[in-house]
């Protein structure tokens, strides 16, 4: 993405901060020019991403990086522990996150990063005629 503003939020990996990140994300999606449907998708995606990331947080904090450009919002959440297929709950958590986030977002990927994992999402605005 080019010509994008970068916004970083570092919050404790605790559920009560999901709302903080969601509120910020809604504002950023509106700033990117998204319509109400798009903003709501971003809020929902951030909430699911938060839950997913909190389960795998390598430390006590989570770092959300937003790249906001005209008509799009990209979110990365880094320094997550890689999933373990031996852990049923975690494995199901990943499959669930994938199911929801792949539908809501235009791009979804889990990137291996030197033993850690980064979640990356992109949501684009619908072109208005």
């Amino acid at each position: 993405m080019t010509d994008a503003d970068r916004i970083m939020l570092v919050v404790p990996a605790r559920d009560e901060y999901a709302r903080t990140v969601r509120l910020a994300a809604a504002e950023l999606a509106a700033r990117a020019g998204m319509d109400i449907d798009g903003i709501d998708d971003v809020r929902m995606a951030v909430e699911e991403a938060f839950v997913f990331a909190a389960e795998r947080a390598a430390g006590d904090e989570l770092s959300f990086t937003f790249l906001v450009g005209p008509g799009s919002v990209e979110l990365t959440v880094g320094s997550l522990l890689p999933g373990s297929s031996a852990d049923d709950t975690q494995d199901r958590g990943e499959r669930y996150a994938r199911f929801i986030l792949e539908t809501i977002c235009d791009e979804f990927e889990l990137i291996d990063d030197n033993g850690f994992c980064t979640l990356r999402l992109v949501k684009r605005a619908v072109e208005t005629p």
Partner: protein, 265 residues
């Protein structure tokens, strides 16, 4: 069956006497003694009042809250299992608090929200529908702000408020066409993505049991048919914000059932 002792009055109120409580419960449960039930209500009214007082300053008159808490107390008395080795107060407290919370949830505002914001939330909900009709697409935040003569920040605040505080109860939402009997299980094949999340169809059925047919239908339309919230709203004659709220509740239930150790947001 021996008659329960007369309750002990201590400065106009009845004290919580464990032995007497048990005797009264025995008289009520085993002999159907309504007077014993009334005495229990009277004995534990202070507990109801105390719990009601914890919800004051949320915009509801304290008398109303005491009434709600008393209903919770009566339910607790009627449901308390005297065979269980648990004190009545331990059992009654969550029942009464649950009744109070339900009251706020049904009433709408779980915490005190400024009236201005309540009204704005309602207006934004209507504006989204009106603008969707006019523009034939989902409106943007600046468009809603302009329509209502408020700032984009106020619109965003109102959107969050609408969802968080649920001021139209879900029960009163209009039911969408064909939603009375909708079951997502009938529409999901073994290759569908949701089936990849769960272990088997039985597990999926167990996960879905906490969702109403309407919630299942909205989930299906959004995540299987790929409809946008506005399209679902238009198709079924409910507002986009109602669809949003239904979806969020649905995802919360799915997440809690599928990933029980996960945090709740």
């Amino acid at each position: 069956m021996t008659q329960p002792r007369k309750p002990v009055r201590s400065s106009r109120r009845l004290v919580w006497d464990k032995v007497l409580t048990r005797e009264l419960f025995c008289a009520y449960r085993l002999d159907g003694d309504q007077e014993a039930r009334d005495t229990l209500v009277e004995m534990y009214l202070n507990l109801a009042k105390y719990l009601a007082s914890r919800f004051r300053n949320r915009g509801e008159p304290i008398d109303d809250l005491i009434q709600v808490a008393t209903i919770g107390l009566i339910k607790a008395i009627d449901r308390f299992d005297i065979e269980r080795e648990v004190e009545f107060t331990t059992y009654a407290t969550p029942t009464i608090v649950g009744e109070l919370k339900r009251h706020f949830r049904d009433k709408g505002w779980a915490v005190k929200v400024p009236r201005r914001l309540q009204e704005l939330s309602f207006k934004v909900n209507q504006a989204v529908d009106a603008l969707t009709q006019r523009l034939q697409r989902s409106p943007t935040v600046p468009e809603i702000g302009e329509y209502l003569d408020v700032t984009p920040d106020e619109v965003l605040e109102a959107l969050e408020t609408f969802e968080a505080y649920n001021f139209v109860s879900l029960e009163s939402d209009r039911t969408t066409d064909g939603a009375e009997t909708f079951s997502i299980l009938e529409y999901i094949g073994k290759d569908d993505q949701l089936m990849a999340v769960v272990d088997d169809r039985e597990m999926l059925a167990a996960v879905l049991k906490d969702l109403t047919p309407q919630e299942q239908q909205v989930l299906y339309l959004r995540f299987f048919e790929g409809l946008t919230q506005t399209e679902i709203a238009q198709k079924h004659g409910i507002s986009q914000m109602q669809v949003s709220r239904l979806l969020r509740k649905t995802l919360r239930v799915l997440r809690e059932n599928l990933v029980p150790e996960g945090v709740e947001s």
